[in-house]
């Protein structure tokens, strides 16, 4: 940048400092996100290990024990099972439905319907989770309560638990998974579809044998983003999960002989317990350990989704 040597003394070209400072400012702004990520992992990580160093809880006991008592004993296995079964059940509901929606918008819908439908689905991405939670509380929970008590012939179920939580989470992750799957299907070149039709395949065969396999890695990135969202969802789940230290399902004396009553997930435990935790107490440390578990799982999910994204051909 030192160009003008005519007076024998180097002077900086007009504006070069500004150019440099501008470049520096933009580069530092971009680095903020890296610094924040390091901060999140550093603070949550260092706090979380105090469960094992400061509170002297053995990792095996912490992760495998089911007894959670804020004063005496802290074991989180039921909450891990709660979170995992919530994610699994939501996926069982959400993946087929969102794939069907994506296929419909991408392949089946008439042209005039395509764009408005896509916009409508996208609009639901913005609906706050607390609204879904409230809807679950005033509509889904009574619905499940009445249905179960009707077929069980008595008042055995209060309607809270895994099932309403999974229903609520399903409708929250559906727009995410559907729009990403739609994008992946749109990226599949026309020629593949035309080749399939030219071989005499019907639309159903083309979709199931050509389109979905070709868009597979792209669809999977959407599904994994859905998993991450289902795992991290807190408030909407808190409204309907019932907050109790029980397994999400078990045997019951009453029809349908499957207990699906109030339970807990990792995130709702954080939400409900953090206000009672005094700094430095075993409970406080345990909640940070739960946060770190969630953090590690979501980092693994990101890695898996990146692996699928790298496998994308179209």
């Amino acid at each position: 940048m030192i160009t003008n040597l005519s007076k024998g003394r180097p002077t900086i070209r007009k504006g070069a400092t500004a150019e440099f400072l501008g470049h520096l400012w933009f580069a530092l702004s971009a680095l903020v996100v890296v610094v924040l990520l390091v901060l999140v992992y550093y603070f949550v990580g260092s706090q979380s290990f105090q469960t094992f160093t400061q509170s002297h809880i053995s990792p095996a006991d912490f992760f495998l024990s089911s007894n959670w008592d804020a004063q005496n004993h802290l074991g989180i296995s039921y909450f891990i099972i709660g979170s995992l079964s919530l994610v699994l059940l939501s996926l069982v509901f959400a993946v087929p439905i969102s794939l069907a929606v994506a296929v419909f918008i991408s392949e089946i819908a008439p042209k005039w319907l395509k764009y408005p439908l896509l916009r409508a689905i996208e609009l639901f991405l913005g609906i706050p989770s607390v609204i879904f939670g409230l809807f679950g509380l005033i509509v889904i929970v009574p619905l499940i309560r009445n249905f179960l008590n009707l077929i069980a012939g008595g008042i055995f179920y209060n309607g809270y638990g895994l099932v309403p939580a999974a229903v609520v989470v399903t409708f929250m992750i559906l727009p995410t998974v559907a729009t990403i799957a739609y994008d992946a299907m749109q990226a599949v070149p026309r020629e593949l579809r035309e080749g399939s039709y030219a071989l005499g395949a019907t639309r159903r065969q083309t979709i199931s044998k050509v389109l979905i396999p070709a868009a597979g890695p792209g669809i999977m990135t959407g599904v994994i983003l859905g998993i991450a969202r289902a795992l991290g969802e807190t408030v909407a789940v808190a409204f309907v999960i019932g907050n109790s230290q029980h397994l999400p399902f078990g045997l019951s004396n009453y029809f349908p002989y499957l207990y699906i009553g109030p339970t807990s997930a990792l995130t709702t435990q954080l939400l409900f317990n953090f206000k009672e935790a005094t700094v430095g107490s075993p409970l406080y440390n345990a909640l940070w350990t739960i946060s770190f578990v969630l953090l590690v799982i979501s980092a693994i999910l990101v890695a898996v989704s990146r692996a699928f994204a790298a496998k994308r051909i179209y």
Binding site: G15, A18, E19, G22, H23, W25, A27, S29, A30, V32, V34, L36, L37, L39, V40, F43, V44, I97, A100, V101, F104, I108, L117, R119, I121, L123, G126, I127, P128, S129, V130, G133, L134, F135, V139, T202, R203, R204, A228, L231, G232, T234, V235, F239, T267, L270, L271, F274, K275, V279, G280, L287, W288, L294, L295, S298, A299, V302, S305, R306
Partner: protein, 300 residues
């Protein structure tokens, strides 16, 4: 469908495939229709339940069960406070990614960081905000439950989204505009400030509005940073720190968590109506700018 026997001739197989194809299409029509109906029902039901509880008094009262004046104020106050750092850093970072960064390690690190940060559950960002802003790393108070703590936490939570939408907006600016600017002898910085950023304004508005919708609707990250207190006495103040303030979304949660009375339930659905209207309004406005952007660059 009732006979499971394999069809014998090629024609019969063809007929069967055609039938399956029709069923396939019908199923997809039905599933999509069902999804759309449920999603509309969620909004429609909330509106039907809450609309009758809305009154002028509801908007101006600061009574915890019967009014949302403090919550409305806090929502916009926290929105503005969080958007200032987020817009500044988010757009600058996007400028770096689009205009400066070359394909390579740096860009890979940035992509990895934004993706990973945006996947962190919001409750954990909230706890981090508690650690950093509410307390002094857990050792004594810093700003206590306050609207600044909530706003900064939301800025951390949504920065990756702001960067992504800003990046899209900058990439939508055609390369020919930059080339024209360079051809006139403009420097890189002049090109960025006088050509690229002004041309990207509609797209940046879209991104900012979509992120605003996320900020307005966020709950989990705020419960342990800006607090759940109704702050009914002297709520209309601009105190950044030491004064807690709940937003509309947090208010809905608090009314649920504090043993709901019938009055609280009415307030809940009414608040939900206001919240949905705000979020949908902000998102629709964003779409409006998006359409203007495509019109401008497609020359229609």
């Amino acid at each position: 469908m009732n006979s499971k026997k394999a069809p014998k001739t090629a024609n019969q197989r063809h007929q069967r495939e055609l039938k399956r194809d029709q069923h396939h299409a019908v199923i997809h029509w039905l599933v999509t229709g069902f999804v759309l109906l449920v999603l509309l029902y969620i909004i429609g039901y909330t509106f039907a339940a809450g609309f009758k509880n809305l009154s002028l008094n509801f908007f101006i009262s600061s009574d915890f069960d019967r009014g949302i004046a403090p919550q409305l104020f806090n929502t916009f106050y926290i929105l503005i406070l969080s958007m200032i750092p987020m817009l500044l850093i988010g757009i600058s970072a996007a400028v770096y990614i689009v205009e400066y960064a070359k394909q390579g390690t740096m860009l890979k690190i940035l992509r990895f960081a934004t993706e990973t940060l945006s996947s962190v559950p919001s409750i954990i960002i909230g706890l981090l905000g508690f650690l950093l802003f509410v307390t002094n790393f857990g050792q004594g108070p810093r700003w206590e439950f306050s609207r600044l703590a909530g706003a900064l936490t939301l800025a951390i939570l949504n920065l990756p989204w702001m960067m992504r939408t800003a990046e899209d907006a900058l990439r939508a600016v055609p390369a020919s505009l930059r080339e024209a600017s360079y051809a006139l002898g403009a420097t890189k910085l002049q090109t960025i400030f006088r050509t690229v950023l002004p041309a990207a304004i509609p797209g940046l508005m879209t991104g900012a509005l979509i992120v605003s919708g996320r900020v307005i609707g966020e709950t989990a990250a705020l419960i342990y940073t800006s607090g759940v207190a109704g702050s009914s006495n002297g709520w209309f103040n601009f105190n950044l720190i030491h004064v807690p303030g709940d937003t509309l979304a947090v208010h809905i949660y608090t009314l649920f968590a504090d043993n709901p009375t019938p009055a609280a339930q009415q307030g809940q659905t009414a608040t939900a109506v206001v919240l949905i209207a705000l979020v949908l309004g902000v998102n629709l406005l964003g779409r409006f700018f998006e359409r203007r952007l495509t019109k401008r660059f497609s020359g229609e």
